[in-house]
Structure formats: structure tokens, C-alpha cells
């Protein structure tokens, strides 16, 4: 009797636990369906990282701002999906004068600003002059442009200080997006942060630092957007961005700022057909800067030995799960116009031979103090991996010690020659090989292979090569393939001297929910937001 009672008690307890579990499960399931964010509009929600402090093209520099500007405005030219220069507000390709010192750009005649005023050469000149006066990156134009004229209503003429073929690419930059002279009359010499009046496919409906609403511009000269509008939101951390896409709170996620683990998780979801993933042209390069004006890295043999000691594939796999593409050039692959990579490949036998030539490996080890930016997680991982790889591969030849420094200090002390070897990154201001080579290699004054003044000093390498600066300048007076060949020759000279060791290149990615079209990147690495829409 007592046993029966006990059994019944146990059974009752089990039953009540089961009932409780079912009830909790039901409540959870119900609450989940009940609390899923309901779509309150047909507009698409697009999330990206970082707040937008200003929509003024003259101030634009972050990818987030450039992305919004690319939807609100147009540029004279644009790099298409295959990287080719295409006219946007220009009617055709720019015409250079015979001496290369003047550039004439015919403009479209059917373009209106969002405030209803007409876009013409005067409006374009107003915007360019405004940028030259107040633009944060005005030095990019100041070095090139001597004067801006509007000889006829739909013809713009730029007089150059010296021949500059890279100006074509520069004109694709969203910070040269024209703005309405009427709307910016009071802001010709100061920034207008919370409004934007341009010519793009979208009109700015509302602006907050963390939320912007874009509605299609009815009088847009080009193709109508494939969506009824966009709600852009800016979240501050990787987990929030990742979570917002996974939970269905946002339709599209544009970001390079999310953690590698989460990028991989999103890519895996895309592989399982749970999301759509698109990849843009890789534009952001990461490299090791070597200080070449003092021993031991003064010797080219030692720098080349280090170049041969760098296992990029292993490092990319450990740091980014192979999502970052190994790089052996200072020019990103999409701009290189070929597959040749001039930097030495990972080769232990050659590396050992070079170390031995330099007097190492025979009881003497090369000491390399390697600095990484403590606030960049991938830098730390790269440094740790390379240190371990060298210890595994060449323990008798080279010893690496690590040193973490905050990035602001690194940049401040770079030109003072404080770092023997330091990992840094760079994204060109416009999609052109010159935007990578000049800022890293150009040198105004040198003594032999030591640069005394110029970008090479600011970049911390102090390295140059006789003829390098001349080749860089020459490339700006050439066009097309000849120009690209010249720039590739400069890249090859740098590979030979090895003041930098390119490590990897990062491609922008975007993810979208399955019901949408896959995001499409243009040649500038920005998503064409007007192409986002429901799949048909």
C-alpha cells in the first residue's frame, strides 16, 4: 500500500513536471510568435555599424556615411560591378586635353536635385569648390586641381596642376557628390550635418545619428529603386548587428565591423541557404611596415627573408577562418588588372638561405620586435600566429617579440621611426592603384634608398628606390594599360625592396534575408541600395 502510494506520488510528480514543461514550452512558443517584430512598413530595414555624425559629403570618410551618400546622391562617374568606369552624372567619359592639363566633362541634361532645381555645370562647380574650401579630404583635390570652370551650362572643365589620370577614379568618390547650390546657399562655407539635398535615387526623409529614412525620389533621372524606401539603422556593436539579422529584425546587414566568428556564422548560414551573402571588391589591405633606415631591417636580404617567412594562408585561416584573402601586392586584386603578385611567397628554404646570407641561423638569431595595435583584435591574432609560426619554422634563425600599442599612439609615432615592424592597414580614398601606392611609397626627398621626407616617412618605412617617385609621377600622365603597367612596375619595385609585407585584403560583405534580391556591390565597394527589393 505504502509502495503504491509512493509510486503514485512519483507518477503524479512526473506528470505535473511534464505538464509544466509542456505549458512552459507552449508559452515560449506562443510568446515567440507573438513577440516577433511585426513589419510595420514595406520599407526595407538596412543595418550597419557606427553612428552617422554628418551627411555632408565634404566631411564624409567612413564607409557608413559613404554608403548613405551613394543612395542619396550621384557622382560624375561610378565604378561598375566589374570595376569599369561608367558615367553617372557625366554624359560620357572625360576628355583630356593634349597636354593632359585640362579635363572636360560633358554632363547629363535631365537631372534634378531633390529640391527641384536643375543639376548643371554651375551646380557641379559649386559642389567641387565647396569641397576644396571645407572638405576634410580636400588635399586629395588641392594637389591636382588648379581651377574649375563651367564653360557652358552642361560642360564642366577642370584645369589640373599637373597631368593626373587618377583623377578619373577620384571623381567616383561619394565625397564629391554634388549638392544643390540653392539648398546649401547658407552652408557654402560650413557643414550641413543633418540634411542632404542631392540628385540620387532616394530623398532623405528623416535623419538621426542612429536612424535615417530614405524614400524614392520621384523625379530621379535613372532607374526607379526596386523598393519603396529604406530605414537605415546604425547599431554600435557586432553582436547587435549579428543578432538583428538573425532575429529577422533587419532585412539587410552591411558591415565589415562584425567579428570574424560572426562573419563565419553568417557565411555558414548563407551556405545552408538560410541567408543571402554578397561580396564586394576587396579594398582594404593589411600589411607589415618594416623600418628600413636602421639595422637589422636596413638590409634588403633580411627584409626579403622575413617576406619569405610569412605564411599568409595559415595566418588568414587562424585569424579569419580564411575569410581574409592572402595578399602579396600593395594593390588590391580588383584594381591590379592581373593575377601576378610580386611579393615573395612563403618559402622556408629560401628564407633560411637568406637568413644565413645575412649571418643568422648559425648560433645567432634575428630579433624582431613586432608591434600590433591593441584595439584591433585581428592584429593581435596575426601577431601571435606569426610569432608561433616563426618559432615552429625557423626557431634557430629568427625570434619575434610582441609589443601591443594603442593605434593612436602607433600613428603618432610612426614617422618618428619608433617601430621596427608594425602591422597596419589601408583603404584607398578612391578605387585606383595609385590611391594605394602613392600614400605608402611616395617620397619627396631622399638619400639613396632612405627617404627623408614624404609619405614613406609618414608611413614609417623610410624606404624609397631611385626612380620610384619618377615612375609614380609618370604613371599619372599615362592612360589605360600603359598606366596600369607603370603602376605594377612600382608595385614590383616595392616587392623587391620589401619595406612592406602585404598580409591580407578584406572584402566588404553584405547579407540579406532570403525573400530579397542579393545585394549588389559597385566597384567602389558600396552596395547599390536601390537594387534591394523583394524577390519576384
Amino acid at each position: 500500500m505504502a509502495v503504491d502510494l509512493k509510486n503514485r506520488c512519483v507518477t503524479d510528480r512526473r506528470r505535473s513536471r511534464l505538464q509544466a514543461s509542456v505549458l512552459i514550452g507552449f508559452v515560449l512558443a506562443f510568446s515567440q510568435s507573438a513577440c516577433q517584430p511585426k513589419r510595420q512598413s514595406e520599407r526595407l530595414t538596412v543595418a550597419s555599424a557606427g553612428r552617422i555624425s554628418s551627411l555632408d559629403p565634404a566631411l564624409a570618410s567612413t564607409t557608413g556615411v559613404l554608403q548613405v551618400l551613394s543612395a542619396l546622391g550621384d557622382t560624375l562617374y561610378i565604378r561598375g560591378t566589374k570595376g569599369k568606369l561608367q558615367p553617372q552624372l557625366a554624359a560620357s567619359k572625360p576628355q583630356f586635353s593634349d597636354d593632359g592639363l585640362s579635363l572636360t566633362i560633358p554632363l547629363r541634361r535631365d537631372v534634378l536635385f531633390h529640391d527641384g532645381t536643375r543639376f548643371d555645370a554651375k551646380a557641379m562647380a559649386f559642389s567641387l569648390k565647396r569641397f576644396l574650401r571645407i572638405g576634410s579630404q580636400r588635399y586629395l583635390l588641392n594637389d591636382r586641381i588648379a581651377a574649375i570652370d563651367a564653360p557652358s551650362p552642361f560642360e564642366l572643365r577642370l584645369r589640373l596642376k599637373q597631368p593626373s589620370s587618377s583623377i578619373e577614379s577620384l571623381l567616383t568618390s561619394p565625397y564629391l557628390t554634388p549638392v544643390s547650390p540653392k539648398a546649401y546657399a547658407d552652408h557654402a562655407d560650413r557643414f550641413l550635418n543633418d540634411r542632404f539635398v542631392g540628385t540620387g535615387p532616394y530623398v532623405l526623409n528623416s535623419f538621426r545619428n542612429t536612424q535615417q529614412r530614405l524614400l524614392p525620389f520621384r523625379n530621379y533621372w535613372g532607374a526607379t529603386p526596386k523598393n519603396v524606401g529604406l530605414d537605415l539603422i546604425n547599431l554600435s556593436n557586432s553582436t547587435a548587428l549579428f543578432g538583428a539579422l538573425i532575429s529577422g529584425e533587419v532585412d539587410v546587414l552591411l558591415s565589415n565591423s562584425i567579428d570574424e566568428d560572426q562573419k563565419r556564422a553568417l557565411s555558414e548560414r548563407a551556405d545552408k541557404a538560410l541567408l543571402l551573402e554578397s561580396k564586394g571588391p576587396a579594398m582594404n589591405i593589411t600589411f607589415v611596415t618594416l623600418r628600413t633606415n636602421s639595422p637589422p631591417l636596413q638590409r634588403q636580404t633580411v627584409r626579403r627573408a622575413l617576406a619569405h617567412s610569412l605564411d599568409r594562408r595559415l595566418i588568414s585561416a587562424r585569424v579569419s577562418y580564411t575569410q581574409r584573402e592572402p595578399l602579396r601586392s600593395l594593390i588590391p586584386p580588383s584594381l591590379r588588372g592581373g593575377k601576378t603578385e610580386p611579393w615573395p611567397a612563403y618559402n622556408l628554404a629560401t628564407a633560411r638561405q637568406l637568413y644565413q646570407e645575412a649571418g643568422y641561423c648559425t648560433g645567432r638569431r634575428l630579433q624582431v620586435p613586432f608591434t600590433f595595435r591593441t584595439n584591433v583584435p585581428s592584429d593581435r591574432l596575426m601577431a601571435l600566429t606569426w610569432q608561433a609560426q616563426l618559432k615552429r619554422d625557423l626557431p634557430d634563425c629568427v625570434q619575434m617579440t610582441l609589443n601591443g600599442v594603442e593605434s593612436t599612439t602607433v600613428y603618432k609615432q610612426l614617422s618618428e621611426g619608433s617601430f621596427e615592424a608594425v602591422i597596419l592597414d589601408w583603404g584607398g580614398s578612391y578605387p585606383d592603384p595609385e590611391a594605394y601606392l602613392s600614400p605608402l611609397l611616395s617620397c619627396k626627398r631622399s638619400e639613396g634608398t632612405i627617404c627623408k621626407e614624404g609619405e614613406a616617412v609618414d608611413g614609417g618605412t623610410f624606404w624609397t628606390e631611385p626612380g620610384l617617385q619618377a615612375a609614380l609621377s609618370r604613371s599619372d600622365s599615362l592612360q589605360g594599360k600603359a598606366r596600369l603597367q607603370e603602376l605594377r612596375a612600382v608595385d614590383a619595385m616595392a616587392a623587391e625592396g620589401a619595406p612592406y609585407l602585404p598580409v591580407w585584403v578584406v572584402a566588404p560583405k553584405a547579407w540579406a534575408q532570403l525573400r530579397l534580391n542579393p545585394p549588389i556591390f559597385n566597384g567602389n565597394g558600396l552596395v547599390d541600395l536601390a537594387q534591394l527589393g523583394e524577390r519576384r
Binding site: L28, S31, Q32, C35, Q36, P37, R39, Q40, S41, R43, T45, R51, S53, S54, D56, L59, S61, S136, Q137, R138, Y139, R190, F191, N193, S206, R208, N209, T210, Q211, R213, D231, L232, I233, N234, L235, S236, N237, T239, A240, F242, G243, A244, I246, S247, G248, E249, E406, T408, T409, Y411, K412, L414, W426, P439, E455, D458, G459
Partner: protein
């Protein structure tokens, strides 16, 4: 009468010291920002901009002036209530503060209410049986929530309730599909005033996770403070005397012990306001809450001197005001306090 005069003198002293404290804080921030490595010019132009361009910008921003000149310029503007303009986009610092402070206050006040209610309830729950299960659980809760790393707790709560269960939004302050109501910047208040119920629902939904997380993390302080004070009060002579007069335990606790035990908790609440700002930073960053702490964080990263200085002075002023108000309130409520 004499007490009233003493209280007045105390208030006057506290208020007179407030500007001195603000000056000290402002000077410290000014100095520390300049000592810290980094350059706002790099943040505007990028680290690879030519030196000539950097020098030109530095000159236009007045950063090429001597440190004394910059300091006196900063102080003279501060005295006139001018906090300057952001170096990054030239927006006035006053406007940045007026946009972001309401968001932080909305979050902070809600979190403080949640912390007080939750903390006091848990702290009070163990009083019936000291050293019993509830008392032990309350002690564990008090220490546990206080010791919990805020960023970890916030991320976990975000992952569970927003990402996995999808009950609440992952981040932000307002649904992207709606236009926030204009007004004071306190979205819940503005939604109620404008009768915009969709906006109200959206604001509340966005507030729940960050406010509950912050409230939960702060509630331990209240729990421990109430437990300790209530225990001490319950052992005091006047409580024993109340018991000996035959009052029920409920009456003893509610009428005699609790009001006295709550006085130190009030002081702690005042101090918590200061830590709320620091604690709120991690919560604001995790939940993408566009508050003043997040602005401060971004401005520090960009070395935007005027914004950092302005925000720190504003926060300091707020903390000074709250602590003076709490001191005065305690002084008024507790007749034992002498000055």
C-alpha cells in the same frame, strides 16, 4: 530655528563648492585629454593625410595654440556657458548633449526604479527569517548581481531575449519604421503627450532590455544596503522597546525599522547615479542606445576634445546636483544629522 539656519548654511556651502568641483573636473579632463596619445586631426583627416593638411586643420581648430591659451579659451567659454563645437563635424556640443542626455536619463531613471524596486524587494524578503533560505538567496543575489560583469550580462541578456527568443528588439531606441515624436527628447513622455501609442509601444519595447539589465546589475547594491541596515536597525534599542510595548512584528518592521533603514539607502541611491553613468556606457554600447555615455565613448575615440570636455562637465554637474539634492533630502528627513 537654529537647525533651519544650520541647514541653510550647509546648503549654501554645498552649492558654493559645486563650481569649484566643476572647475577642478573640467581642468583635469582638459589636461588628461592633452596628455593622452592621439590627435583629433587624425580622426578627421585619417592617419595618412599629408602633414601640410594636418597642420592646416590643426591651425584652423586652434590646436596649434599653446596649452595655456587653449585652457584659458576653454575656461572663458565655459564660464559663459559655451561648450564649443565638435571638431569632427562642427556641431555645437550643447546640441549634442541636448540630443543624447534625455536618452541616458530615460534609461537611467527607469533602471534606477527597477533597481530600487527589485533590490529593496529582495533585500526585504529575507527579513522574516534571518539566516533562512530567502535571506541566503537575497545575500547571494546582492553579491551576485553586483559582481556580474556588465558587458557579459548585457550580451547574454541580449542574445537570449532578443536574438534567440526574439521577444524584444536587439538594440536602438525606437522602431526604424516609425518617426520619433518631437518634444523633450524623452521618447516615452513625448509619445504619451502626443498620444502616439505606436511610438509609446515601440519606445517601451526598446527600453525594456537595457533598463532591466542595468536595473538588475544595480539592484544588488540596494539589496545589500537594505539587508545590512535593516538587520542593524532590528537589533537597536528603540526596536526592542517597540517590541516590548507589544507591537506586532509587522508593525515593528514597517513603522519603526524600515524608515530608519531606508535613510542610508537614499544616500546610496544618490551615489548610484554617478556609477550609473559609468555602468550605462557598457549597456549603451551593447544595446546601441544613443545616449550621452555612448557619445562620450565615441568622442574619446575620436579625440574630439570639446565634446569630451562638454559631456564630462555636464555629467559632473548632474552628479554634483544629485548628490547635493540627496544630502539635503537626508538632512531634512533625518533630525539626528548635525552640520
Amino acid at each position: 530655528m537654529a537647525r533651519g539656519r544650520e541647514l541653510f548654511r550647509y546648503c549654501a556651502t554645498r552649492l558654493a563648492l559645486a563650481p569649484l568641483m566643476l572647475w577642478l573636473i573640467a581642468s583635469l579632463v582638459f589636461l588628461l585629454l592633452r596628455v593622452a596619445p592621439g590627435d583629433p586631426v587624425d580622426a578627421v583627416l585619417g592617419s595618412r593625410a599629408p602633414e601640410a593638411a594636418k597642420a592646416a586643420l590643426r591651425s584652423s581648430l586652434g590646436l596649434d595654440q599653446s596649452l595655456w591659451n587653449q585652457y584659458f579659451d576653454f575656461l572663458s567659454k565655459l564660464v559663459h556657458g559655451d561648450l564649443g563645437n565638435a571638431l569632427i563635424n562642427n556641431e555645437s556640443v550643447r546640441s549634442i548633449i541636448s540630443k543624447t542626455l534625455p536618452a541616458s536619463l530615460e534609461l537611467g531613471i527607469t533602471a534606477l526604479i527597477i533597481a530600487a524596486v527589485l533590490g529593496l524587494a529582495v533585500g526585504f524578503s529575507g527579513i522574516a527569517r534571518p539566516e533562512g533560505k530567502f535571506d541566503f538567496a537575497g545575500r547571494f543575489y546582492g553579491i551576485g548581481t553586483y559582481a556580474l560583469p556588465p558587458f557579459w550580462a548585457a550580451m547574454l541578456i541580449q542574445l537570449v531575449f532578443a536574438v534567440m527568443l526574439g521577444w524584444l528588439p536587439v538594440g536602438g531606441r525606437f522602431p526604424p519604421s516609425l518617426i520619433p515624436p518631437e518634444g523633450s527628447g524623452f521618447l516615452i513622455f513625448d509619445s504619451v503627450i502626443s498620444g502616439n501609442w505606436a511610438a509609446l509601444q515601440g519606445s517601451v519595447r526598446h527600453l525594456v532590455l537595457p533598463a532591466c539589465t542595468l536595473g538588475l546589475l544595480l539592484s544588488g547594491v540596494f539589496t545589500n544596503a537594505l539587508r545590512l541596515n535593516l538587520n542593524r536597525t532590528l537589533k537597536s534599542d528603540y526596536v526592542e522597546s517597540a517590541r516590548s510595548r507589544g507591537l506586532s512584528e509587522v508593525q515593528v518592521v514597517l513603522r519603526h525599522a524600515l524608515p530608519n533603514a531606508l535613510l542610508p539607502v537614499l544616500t546610496i541611491a544618490g551615489i548610484t547615479v554617478a556609477s550609473l553613468i559609468g555602468g550605462a556606457l557598457l549597456i549603451e554600447v551593447t544595446f546601441s542606445w544613443p545616449g550621452i555615455a555612448m557619445s562620450l565613448y565615441e568622442s574619446i575615440n575620436q579625440r574630439d576634445y570639446p565634446v569630451v570636455q562638454g559631456i564630462v562637465v555636464a555629467i559632473a554637474a548632474l552628479v554634483v546636483m544629485v548628490s547635493v539634492a540627496v544630502d539635503l533630502l537626508v538632512a531634512v528627513l533625518d533630525p539626528r544629522i548635525r552640520y
